[in-house]
């Protein structure tokens, strides 16, 4: 009988442990410190990530009663993880979010806290047009930290000179000439890493399609006023097909990820690399000779209806708050946001070669590549495809573009599928 008693007791004890284990995570520890967990994708050792992290550290030092805890998740997995946790109602207190279609579902699921009460804080520093990127139905959900241009061409000056080009070609026709000349010299023209399947869409199509269709096309196609079977749009998809056919890309493009392709460009294995402003920092930091790296806008396309001065871009670096925060936590989080999105951080970001929404002076010490890239944003921003399309359409075009490079799908078929998917919704 005693044995039985012991057994029951130990079972109860075990169960108790399990129960305690559950509740410990929920409550903040007994002291008065308010803990706020911040999810982000600052895993890579980049100057801007270091700037973000140092701002958090500084905030923690200055505020003894608030502790912001950083949890970093690699970028390619970040959004998947966020969505998974959101479905389980287990979002952290604060988390990095991207604008447009990518926060829409979070907003619809009431997962985000509107920041309308504190938005006046940035009235004088951030232009409304950029602020708007993080607003849904008139509610502001995050403060933009930077501007991401998604379509820049980085090129190796020496290599294109070898191919007989002193300046970077401005039209697509000349770019094809350059690609051909590079291939004749046995130099890989463009380093592409499309394993994660978004670069061809986000970097390439966002701007190429805008050159052909103009910026009104995308919203109109989505709301049914236009169609993806638009001839200009199909033509922009054909550009990818043509680039593959003229061997513009490295052969292993579908098995490399974006960072690997960038490193191949940096180490001089390819003459060009198409990427967004996120690549400026790493390229400047690891390139042996910065003077040898040039940056250029996408070329113009004959017959295109869009404005060739535009570049695809979107506000980024926003941090959203969990709608479940308690009154106390909410105040602490507001305090953190005001501290974080300050002129001090924007200045640090500029020095880290990040394009920022706030209008700040730029000194001579800022490298040429960055100043050029910064100038390109002045030509106006075109919508970025994966920031505007629904997740289903994004998935479709990502895979479709890869199929086009493999010769398993034609641009017409992809456009047709996209239209069918869009009408199905």
């Amino acid at each position: 009988m005693r044995k039985l008693a012991i057994m029951i007791f130990s079972t109860a004890f075990l169960l108790g442990l399990v129960a305690c284990g559950g509740s410990n995570n929920e409550e903040t520890s007994g002291s008065d410190v308010i803990e706020l967990t911040l999810w982000n994708d600052w895993t890579e050792d980049r100057p801007e990530n270091n700037a973000y992290k140092s701002m958090v550290e500084k905030f923690n030092e200055e505020n003894e009663d608030i502790e912001v805890i950083i949890e970093a998740i690699p970028h390619d997995q970040y959004e998947t993880k966020l969505r998974t946790q959101a479905a389980g109602k287990q979002l952290p207190d604060m988390f990095r979010v991207w604008p447009g279609a990518r926060i829409q579902p979070l907003v619809e699921g009431d997962a985000l806290l509107p920041l309308n009460d504190i938005i006046d804080n940035w009235k004088d520093t951030i232009p409304e047009g950029i602020m708007k990127d993080y607003a849904v139905d008139g509610n502001q959900y995050a403060i933009p930290g930077n501007i991401s241009e998604t379509s820049l061409i980085f090129y190796n000056k020496e290599m294109i000179a070898q191919a007989g080009f002193d300046t970077f070609p401005e039209s697509y026709k000349d770019l094809k000439g350059l690609i051909q000349a590079l291939n004749e010299k046995d130099i890989t023209p463009i380093s592409l890493g499309n394993k994660a399947i978004w670069p061809l869409q986000s970097v390439y199509i966002s701007t190429i399609a805008d050159r052909f269709t103009g910026s009104d096309f995308l919203p109109q196609a989505l709301n049914g006023e236009g169609t993806f079977e638009n001839e200009q749009f199909v033509q922009s998809l054909s550009i990818i097909q043509e680039l593959t056919e003229i061997k513009a890309f490295n052969e292993d493009m579908n098995t490399l990820d974006e960072a690997q392709a960038r490193n191949n460009f940096i180490s001089g294995n390819a003459a060009m690399h198409f990427a967004g402003s996120w690549a400026i920092g790493p390229i400047l930091e690891s390139a042996e000779n910065i003077e040898n790296i040039g940056v250029a806008p996408f070329p113009s396309f004959e017959g295109g209806e869009g404005d060739p001065a535009k570049i695809a871009g979107v506000a980024g670096g926003g941090i959203a708050l969990n709608s479940d925060l308690s009154e106390e936590e909410r105040e602490a989080a507001f305090k953190f946001l005001k501290f974080f999105y300050s002129e001090e951080m924007y200045q640090q970001l500029l020095e880290a070669n990040i394009i920022v929404p706030a209008d700040l002076e730029m000194g001579d010490e800022i490298p040429q590549v960055f100043q050029e890239a910064n100038k390109l944003a002045q030509g106006g921003l075109a919508p970025v495809y994966d920031a505007t399309l629904t997740p289903e359409l994004t998935d479709l075009i990502n895979n479709g573009l890869q199929s086009i490079t493999l010769g398993e799908m034609t641009p017409e078929e992809l456009a047709k599928e996209m239209q069918a998917e869009n009408e199905g919704k």
């Binding site: 044995k3 039985l4 057994m7 029951i8 079972t11 075990l14 169960l15 399990v18 998947t80 969505r83 998974t84 959101a86 479905a87 579902p105 979070l106 619809e108 699921g109 009431d110 997962a111 394993k195 994660a196 399947i197 490295n250 052969e251 292993d252 493009m253 579908n254 098995t255 997740p391 289903e392 998935d395 895979n399 890869q402 199929s403 490079t405 493999l406 398993e408 799908m409």
Partner: protein, 291 residues
């Protein structure tokens, strides 16, 4: 009488904590999946009952059939690749040879390695421009055989399957070795005295004696292959152009990248029943041969 009842209670009490945890974390989610599969749900907003619409859509999606086909390749490669190779090596190693421990360790090594490490290593080996295989082929003048292994949809599935086989041969090798060591020496001795050749002994004595273990290995193999995910996720993420998509990966992408939790649950339910039927059939088939 009193003693046995006491024992039953003790066993019940003892098993209870594990049982409760198992029910909550293994059985309950499966039942929940059944429930979700009848809903339209994006993970945030309120669920909407749609009956069997998810299943209807599922059976009409060519990408699902594509992932099912690829998954069957994985099952076939595992059952017809891993098990025979492992059995063959185990039979070779099951004699008094020098360095048995070393060979065993080498064979088992891939099982201990993290799948991510394996995937990345094999991706490097398969790289079309500077990977080991292509470099080797080019060095010996077989340039025309060099392929874009993972980047070409004709080869990607084959390349992935080779890695899958390589990864788990070691596991079954150890299982078979353990079983072989349990075959009584006397029986083999008797066969030899009767003049049975080595070949005959293996086929008529050794293999029937470890047949149960082989069935277990085949079942492990099938259920493992049906939920295969991590290796392919890291190596190709189902690409290029869905050529290496398997069911678990399809389910994952539909659920989490496209925010269709209901639809994703429907896929899981199909995987569940598919595995159940397949394993049931295989056990029946192999079980009969045993006599």
């Amino acid at each position: 009488m009193h003693a046995t009842r006491n024992k039953t209670i003790a066993i019940t009490v003892g098993i209870l904590p594990a049982l409760i945890i198992y029910l909550i974390f293994a059985i309950l989610p499966i039942l929940q999946s059944f429930y979700y599969s009848l809903m339209e749900w994006d993970g945030f907003s309120a669920m909407q009952y749609v009956g069997l619409d998810n299943f209807k859509a599922l059976f009409q999606d060519p990408l699902f059939w594509n992932s099912l086909k690829n998954n069957i390749y994985v099952v076939l490669a595992s059952v017809l690749g891993q098990v025979p190779i492992a059995l063959f090596i185990a039979l070779l190693l099951n004699r008094k040879i020098k360095g048995l421990k070393l060979f065993r360790t080498i064979g088992f090594l891939p099982v201990v390695l993290s799948t991510v490490v394996i995937s990345i290593t094999w991706s490097l080996i398969y790289n079309s421009e500077n990977g080991l295989i292509n470099e080797l082929l080019r060095t010996i003048g077989l340039d025309f055989l060099a392929q874009n292994w993972l980047g070409d949809s004709k080869w990607s599935m084959i390349a992935v399957l080779v890695t899958v086989i390589w990864q788990f041969v070691g596991l079954y090798l150890i299982i078979f070795l353990a079983a072989l060591q349990n075959v009584p020496e006397e029986v083999l001795e008797a066969a030899r005295i009767d003049g049975a050749s080595e070949w005959k002994t293996t086929w008529s004595i050794t293999i029937p004696m470890i047949w149960d273990t082989i069935i277990v290995a085949v079942i492990l193999c099938i259920s493992g292959s049906l939920k295969t995910f991590d290796l392919i996720y890291v190596m190709t993420n189902g690409g290029p152009a869905h050529s290496t998509d398997v069911m678990a990966l399809y389910m994952f992408n539909e659920t989490f990248n496209q925010l269709q939790y209901g639809y994703g649950s429907a896929v899981s339910v199909i995987i569940f029943f598919f595995s159940l039927i397949l394993i049931y059939t295989v056990t029946k088939l192999l079980g009969k041969k045993m006599i």
